[in-house]
């Protein structure tokens, strides 16, 4: 458990994404994610879900407003700080994100090796432990293209939860995944939240997160009119 950041972890303050750059509706997006929160965002379009995660990561240019992560405005940072700050985000995305020039184990550990001074052994041990948690017999060393879709999804989970991410942007890994993945996934989310991380779980199917309903802090819907909070009974 880490000391909690004072104030919201992620804050979208009337952020109007550039439609030309993202395809997201050019309307103000506003929301706050506190440390330890788990927010479900329902998005029918997977490309729009990815762009929303990009928006949270400061990758989408804004026409107006601000997106702040850990109190820092993405627009006010230089590349070096931007990259370092993104090193605090764990992400599972539907967009192809595995480099073909690296083997999977390096692609998984690359983020930690790049952003932190943690010893290699420690990073590998943690990655292997997470691998086992997500149902891999170790840390996969083949190229990502040689892994099955299910194993690649497991590797993506390992990559996202490796280190101590402060924000998790998870584009529905449970959809079309082996049923065994559900428990480790929910367990990893809970652990991360206990450590003060905020979770944005972007889902397409309403049914997927029902098993974790009690743990969800708020539910939102990403629609043409922007980000709308859904009141749940």
């Amino acid at each position: 458990m880490d000391t909690r950041t004072v104030g919201p972890l992620l804050e979208l303050n009337k952020a109007v994404p550039s439609f030309e750059e993202s395809g997201l509706p050019p309307v103000p997006f506003s929301m706050k994610l506190m440390p330890g929160d788990c927010m479900v965002v329902e998005a029918r379009s997977s490309s729009r879900a990815t762009m929303f995660a990009d928006l949270c990561s400061g990758l989408v240019p804004l026409d107006d407003g601000a997106v702040k992560f850990m109190g820092l405005d993405w627009a006010g940072l230089h590349d070096r700080e931007l990259n370092a700050l993104r090193g605090r985000i764990g992400r599972i995305t539907r967009r192809p994100s595995w480099p073909e020039f690296l083997n999977t184990h390096l692609a998984i550990t690359l983020q930690q090796l790049h952003h932190t001074s943690r010893p290699l052994d420690e990073v590998v041990a943690e990655a292997a432990r997470l691998g086992e948690l997500f149902g891999l017999p170790g840390l996969p060393v083949l190229r990502p293209s040689m892994l099955s879709d299910a194993d690649l999804l497991r590797a993506a989970c390992v990559r996202a939860f490796l280190g101590r991410p402060r924000l998790l942007l998870l584009e529905d890994p449970l959809e079309a995944s082996p049923v065994e993945l559900q428990n480790p996934f929910l367990s990893a989310i809970t652990d991360a939240r206990d450590r003060g991380a905020g979770v944005i779980w972007i889902v397409r199917n309403h049914a997927i997160w029902q098993g974790y309903r009690q743990g969800i802090t708020s539910t939102w819907r990403l629609a043409d009119d922007g980000l709308v909070e859904v009141r749940t009974a």
């Binding site: 000391t3 230089h78 370092a84 001074s117 691998g131 149902g135 101590r164 082996p178």
Partner: protein
Amino acid sequence: MSSDEIVDPTVQNDASVRRVLLHLVLPFGSLLLVVGAIIAIGLHSYRSTRTGVVALTHELLGAVQQNISQEVSDYIMPAVAGNTIASGMIAHAPSQVADRVFYSYGAAMLQSVPQLQSFYLGDEDGHFRLITRGPNGKNEERTTFEVRDGKQVYHREFYTIDGVKTGEEYTDATGYDPRKRPWFTKTEGKTETQWTQPYLFPSARQFVMTSSLRFKGANGHTYVFATNISLNELSAFLDHLKVGKTGNAIILDSKGRVMAGRNIMQQAEAAGWDPNKMLLDPKTHPVFARGYDHYRVRGFGPRSFELNNKRYVTIASPLKSSAEGWILLLSAPENDFASFARQSSQQSLQFAGIIIVFSLVLAGFLVRQVRRSERTTRKLAQQGVQITHESAAVQQVASTPRLFDPTAEPLVLTEQLVHVTDAHRASIWRLLHNGAAMICEDSYDQKQDAHSGGFEMSRTELGAFFETIESGDILSVDNAATDERTTQFERLVMRELGTRMLSVYPIHGPKGIVGAVVLEDAHMAPHLLYFVDLMASIAGIRLAETADDAESGHSLPADEVSGAANSAVPLPAPHFDNMLVRAPQVSDVITSGIYPSVAVLVITFSDPVVDGDTETQNLLKLINVLATDVQRISKERGLFAVEVAGHRMICMAGCTAQEDPTAIIRIADAALTMRETFMAALAAANLEPVFAMGLDYGAAFGGAVGEDPKVFNLWGQTVSLAELMAQGASDGGTIQVTDRVYMALRDRYLFRSRGSFFAPHLGLGRAYVLAARR
């Protein structure tokens, strides 16, 4: 910032760029500007001074030149004007007294004008008169050209300056005709004064030239009056003349021959007393030679040039009222005139140097001051961040439920201590039995993110450490291994983690010291006394509560401890253990040993969700059915043993001292059969295939352990790998095997590769899914 992060995104890099600009570029840029301005002004001043100096030099040289021209003119004028006056006097005098006029004039002039050497008077009839100074230079000598006894002679008469005749003599003058002399012939047809070429008298060391004027006397005869003028005096004058400090002057004729100048006699001697050879020699007069060249090319006027890395100024001007084509050449080093300008420039440079040094010192002070204020600002900002950090930590501690409840674990205290002080490990120790021992309430390791506690230390082991805590003072040691108070603690507790620094904060309770907060490798701890004290105080309240509870004797009586009461009642020995199947060979195993080729199959079941008694009963029945099936299949395949442990089953074959090649085949057959049986049974119960199997083949440790009952157990890497295979199976109901199994069975069974995987302590290996028999 996490201590592992390489870049702290909260620290903006542009601040440092701005800092560099503010700290270095601005002061030094300003300094450079100042220096540049000083240099530019100095250069401009030097140039304008130099231009002024050059102009002044030219003016000075012009003035000198005019002066010299005047001097030369004055020098020569008696000859030129004397000719006119004397000729006028002689022309208008009666012919009888013409001689007397000539001699009177000559005597008077010779006495009063030192440069005049002699006077001639000749006429068209060949008469000739001469008056000159005597050999001693004082008296006079009058010579006439006469014919005596048919011979041409010079009649010389010697007079004192008072006009008293002292003697006479006749010397032969055969062949002499004054009308053929240059001074006479040159005046032919001319009415102005004419000059002859200078000529030298080696004996008298005189350099003489003659001016002559033709006129008509009253008697109608034509006369030529000539004046010899010595140039030696002119040279002496030029010799003494100073142009600037070291410059001098020279007079040349139109052909470049030296007429007058410094050391003229030496030059004449060198030229063999031939005036035509007295040309300007660049070796002896390099500056004049160059100045003369300039004159020849560019005409009269002042010129500047550089010679042998030294600048010179020369001025060439015509000499009026003198012989035709005479040139006055002056030369002087520019320094003679410009030296004060150089001194002025040097002074300017020295002033500029002083200003630059002062500017540098001031810039240094400015840099130092700006850096100090920047450092202070940064420190203040860091303190602000630290205070926010501490406040957040305190809030987190305060929001922890049951913080002061001694029965709840105080995990948040150690965690926040570690995070705020950036320690490797934080632990809270409680003194027991009036300080005879100490127990660790909680210890949190940041690297491992793990809590531990419960270990106890006695005063006999750590006497010095206990005394330090009881003294109530804060102890901070950079190297715990070398401080005698902490050596034992380091050996017992810290060495395992490899920490060096130790900070001990005694916890004060209502009845004195009740324990201590111990921080290992806490780099920030010295700056966070307030926070650590606060945490120690909270821990103190908790420890005081714990001590109260212990003293009030809330511990359970022995007869209420579960199992303790019934221990006296004899029960029949249990007729079951964790072995589901035991081959007869198991009984033969008495000791532990290594089996070279054991096949291990691990079956894991995930926990099913049950809701209600009926479901529980049904599930228990199903488990029983599955267990029975396992027993049956194991016996059919001749497995060595099947061990049940929670939701896992470990099936083993080939536990023999000799290698058993059939073991792996039998167990693979058993695995496939079990999978089919389980699938069918679970499907019948409307359940998902909630099991996974892992299979490995290799050496393992095995043997009987314990006493009464002795239990057979198997362990080693093969078992671990089989468990890992089961744990990491790709889907429910699959059999995942290692590459050793694949190598042994690939001819008999069908496999699907899953890829290569790395596991710490086990290394790199491939995983396969056993699909079916061939």
